[in-house]
Structures are given as C-alpha cells and as structure tokens.
Amino acid sequence: MKRFLHNRVALAALIIFTLLLLSCVVFPLLGYSDYESLHLDQQYAPISLQHPFSTDNLGRDFFTRMMVGGRYTLGLSLVSTVLAVLFGTVIGTLSAYKGGLLDRIVVSLCEALSAVPYILIVIIIEVALGWGKGYFSLAIAIARMPSVIQTIRAAVLSVREKEFISAAKVLGKSDWYIITRHVMRNVYSTILVQFCSTYGASIVACSVLGYLEIGISSPVPEWGRMVADYFHLIQSRGHLVSIPCLFISVSVLCITMITNGLRDALDPKEYQHE
C-alpha cells in the first residue's frame, strides 16, 4: 500500500477518480436529480449555478444528466465487474486447483469466448434473456469473465505447485482450507489488479454499447448513450458530445493508471527492470 501511495501518477488518478465517483453520488442528492423533465423554453441556457454545463436541445439540465449518467455508467460497470471477478475467481480457482476434465472444459470455453468480439456475446445474451439493466450488467460480466478466469487460473496454477501446498496436503488439511488459507493469500494481489482492469474494460464496454444504442435505452442518461443522442449537434454544440466523451476517457484513463500503479506496487519483482 505504501508503495502505491508513493506512485504520484497512480495517486493522482485515484484522487481524480474518487472525486468523479463521489460527485456522481453526491450531486444527485443535492438537488441535481431531475434529468428528464423538459423545458423547451430554456434550450441551451447560459451557464449558471442552476445549469453549470448549460442545457441540452430539449432544455434538460446537462450537468444533472452527466451526474445521473455517471451513476449508470460507473455503477452498472461496477456491478458487472463485481459479478465477473467473483464468478471468475471461483471458476478459475476451482478449474486450476482441481484440474482434469473440468479444467479442460473451462479453458476451451474461455478460449472460444475470448475469440469473439464482446459486443456479440452481450447481444446474444441480451437477446436471449431480455433487455434490462440487470441483464445488461450480467451480459457485460459474462463477456468479461474469460479474461478474469484465465488470469486467475494462471496465478493459482503457479501457486499450486509450491511446497507449502503439498505440505498442507500432507498435514491432511481439506481442500477448502488450503484454498482459502493458502491459495487465496497468494493470489489476492492478482485478483485486485484484475478487478481494476476489469472495471476499466467494463466501463468501456458499457459506454460502447450505449453508444451503439444496444445498451441502456434512451431517456436514461448513460454517458455513451448521451454521445449518440447528441451526436447530431456536434457542429453547433460540440460540448454536448465532447463532455461525455471526456468523462468516459478520464475515468477509464484513471482506472488504467490505478491498475498500473497497483501492479507495480503489488508485484515489484516482475516490473523492476523498467
């Protein structure tokens, strides 16, 4: 942790991202929560305290839409990340620890899934299950899971052959005990790094699907969806397109930097020669 805090870039990224996340949580509670009522008399209102980012073509407050949209983009991605990492860790650990047929099935499934563009997976899951926020985050989670499983599996495999695992087995400890006490202690840093990188990828996936008008449907202000909605105004009101874009880019960049910082801090021996 100390090493992470000494990394100035990662620390700055963490602070910026936390501020972004907090503002998305706090501002809707402070009264900026009405994102859908129309005021056609107030199109493109001048910047004021009431409308810090002006208003859009239908007179809706743009700042409110950004903040509420952040709740959807960042929140849904967080849900799908938690799902992906949770199930990915369980499946990856079991597959690596048990080996055999289960392992082979999991590996080949992951290979097949990771060769397909994730948009295809999300679409097929959404078409098959239904179109809603819950299914949407589940779909992103499933699309992100193969890479999580592969990473965790590799990490567990490298731990499994260590002497202390054999020693624990000789002592007659149960598999559950070995996995929770010994294996998890050694792969938790991998899981943490994987969590961060999956979160970044999920935000990208969420906004891309929103942009392609496949994800969350229109009145809900999801950032990627907002880019698509205001795209026809790019020449006259460029900020309506560029602000959501900027927010997506900044949050994903911050997460990438946090991921890199965490990786360097938790796994110094692999990256020290850089």
Partner: protein
C-alpha cells in the same frame, strides 16, 4: 509445422460450426419476430402456424446443416425469418469490412512495430515517454471517443479530412486509425518491452563491441527475436480489432457488416444477425489461421518440430 497448422484449421472449423450452432439455436427459439409487426389483421392464427412450422419441422439439426450447406457451397445466406436472399447484400458489405480490417491490420503491424522499436531505441527520452503515454491513452479510451476526438480535430477544427463517405481513399484514413488504435497501442507497448529486453542481453553488447551498426542490431537482431511475442499479441487482439471495426463503421457510416448487424439488432432482425455472426466468425478464424502461419514461420522452435527434432529434449 504443417501438422500444427492443419490441426489449428480443423479446430477452428469445429469451433465455427459449434458457435454458429449455438447462435442458430438461441435465435430460433427466441420469442418475438419481425413478422409479428406485419400488417396482417386477424390472422395471428396463420402466423402461429407458420412459427410452429419453422420451429418444428424439419428438426433443428437438419435445418442448421442445410443452412451451413447453403453457405459453404454457394455463399447463399438463407433466412428463416425474412424470406429473401441476403447473399448479395452480405457480399457487398463484406468487401467493405474486409477492406477496413485489412487496412487496420497493416497499419497496426507497420506502425506498431516501427513506433515500438523507436521507443525502445530512445528509451528514457521524451520520445519514448511521448510514445508510451500516447499508447497508454489509446489503449484505454473507447474507440468511439477516439473517433469523436479525431472528427473534432481533423474534420471540424482543421477541416483536413472528410467525416463521412467511403468512395475515396481519403475517407479511409480516420476509420483505419479508429479501427487500429487500441490494438496498435498494445502492440507498441509489447514491442517496446520486448526490444528493450533483447537489448539488455549479452549478445547485443558483443555486437556493439564488434562495431556493428545500431540499425542492424535493432532491426536484424533485437526485433527479430522480439517479433514472436508481438505477433502473439496481435493474434490475441483480433476480437478487439473487429469490435473497433463495428464502431468505426457505425461512426463513419460505412455500410459494412458491423453497421448492418447493429441495425439488425436494433430492429430485431434475427436472420441478419445470424448471417453477420457467421461472416464475422469466418473472418476471425481466417485471421487467426494467418497469424498462426506467421507465428510458425517466425518461431524456430515450431520449424524444428516439423523437421523432426526438438531442441528441448
């Protein structure tokens, strides 16, 4: 080597059939169809009977095999859901997508390797920091954000390039950049890392002390060894590149497969979704086989396996 490639091709074809079968099954048993929205009044009974017919007979496997047979022998995309022939449309759109993807791949290979080598050669200087920073930026932002930044800068700001259209070669500059950005950034990072690894090895110092020119050391010795992991990264990025192709087509309004598919998804046109899935799966498999062949040609271990002896005995 040939054995390895043959196995890969057979495996890929197996995966193709399995994947298409899965999608075929899911799309067949889905509720809802475009036909429901046709202005047929009071004839729901007829539609129900039609649906019962296409769902029940002949059985799923037979219909699936017939579907694949038509595609393989005549490139003929039938649709259970919309009774007209999709082949002509798929074919014209496939050309555009293929063009865009191949351009993207060429761009990635050429610029990824050149920039990676430059960054490694000038490591620690501002050039290296610039290239690494830019590649980190490109690797993390979603492709459509990049497309919008590019459009804002080059089309609206500098008025250099056109935003839309696909008739002239100029139109393909921005889409190519958009398609390749994410994968390019990854290739640069890996290439830089690997070349630096190679330059730290003793044989490079030996070459330097013999007075070998820097460019020869970089390109003929270090890059040659660094290429193998780089190619494997490109192979892993295939899915990402196709993903970016979808987005670039959608953004720049290029009527390729990706554009067609997104339109089809928004209008729940399952026959088109299935056809596009098949085409994209074939694309991915072809690109994977090509990169496998390149990989084999580059990796001496693979070549020696073919010759009948192995070094790691």
């Amino acid at each position: 080597m040939f054995k390895f490639i043959r196995n890969r091709i057979l495996g890929a074809i197996g995966v193709l059939f399995a994947a298409v079968f899965a999608v075929f099954t899911i799309l067949t048993y889905l509720p809802g169809s475009r036909l429901r929205y046709l202005p047929i009044q009071g004839e729901n009974d007829l539609l129900d009977r039609y649906f019962a017919l296409i769902k029940a007979s002949p059985n799923l496997l037979t219909r699936y095999l017939r579907y694949m047979y038509n595609i393989i022998t005549r490139f003929h995309f039938t649709s259970n859901f919309r009774h007209h022939d999709l082949s002509a449309e798929i074919l014209t759109r496939t050309r555009l997508t293929l063009l865009l993807t191949v351009l993207g791949f060429v761009f990635i290979v050429v610029f990824g390797i050149i920039l990676g080598v430059i960054a490694a050669h000038k490591r620690g200087t501002w050039i290296d920091r610039l290239i690494s920073g830019a590649s980190m930026f490109l690797a993390s932002i979603p492709p459509f954000c990049l497309a919008i930044y590019l459009a804002l800068i080059f089309c609206l700001g500098l008025k250099l390039l056109p935003v839309f259209g696909y008739a002239k070669p100029v139109n393909f500059i921005l889409p190519t950049v958009t398609v390749s950005a994410a994968a390019l950034a990854n290739v640069i990072q890996i290439c830089r890392f690997q070349v630096i690894e190679e330059l730290n090895k003793p044989y490079v110092r030996n070459l330097q002390s013999r007075g070998q020119r820097e460019s020869v050391i970089l390109f003929r010795h270090a890059l040659k060894n660094a290429l193998i992991p780089t190619v494997s990264v490109i192979r892993e990025m295939t899915a990402t590149i196709f993903m970016s192709t979808f987005i670039a087509e959608w953004f720049y309004a290029i009527p390729g497969i990706g554009y067609y598919m997104i339109k089809a998804i928004n209008s729940r046109d399952y026959g088109v979704i299935l056809a596009c899935t098949v085409v994209i799966a074939i694309f991915i498999i072809i690109f994977n086989i090509i990169s496998d062949v390149v990989y084999c040609l580059l990796d001496p271990k693979m070549r020696s396996k073919e010759m009948g002896y192995s070094q790691d005995v």
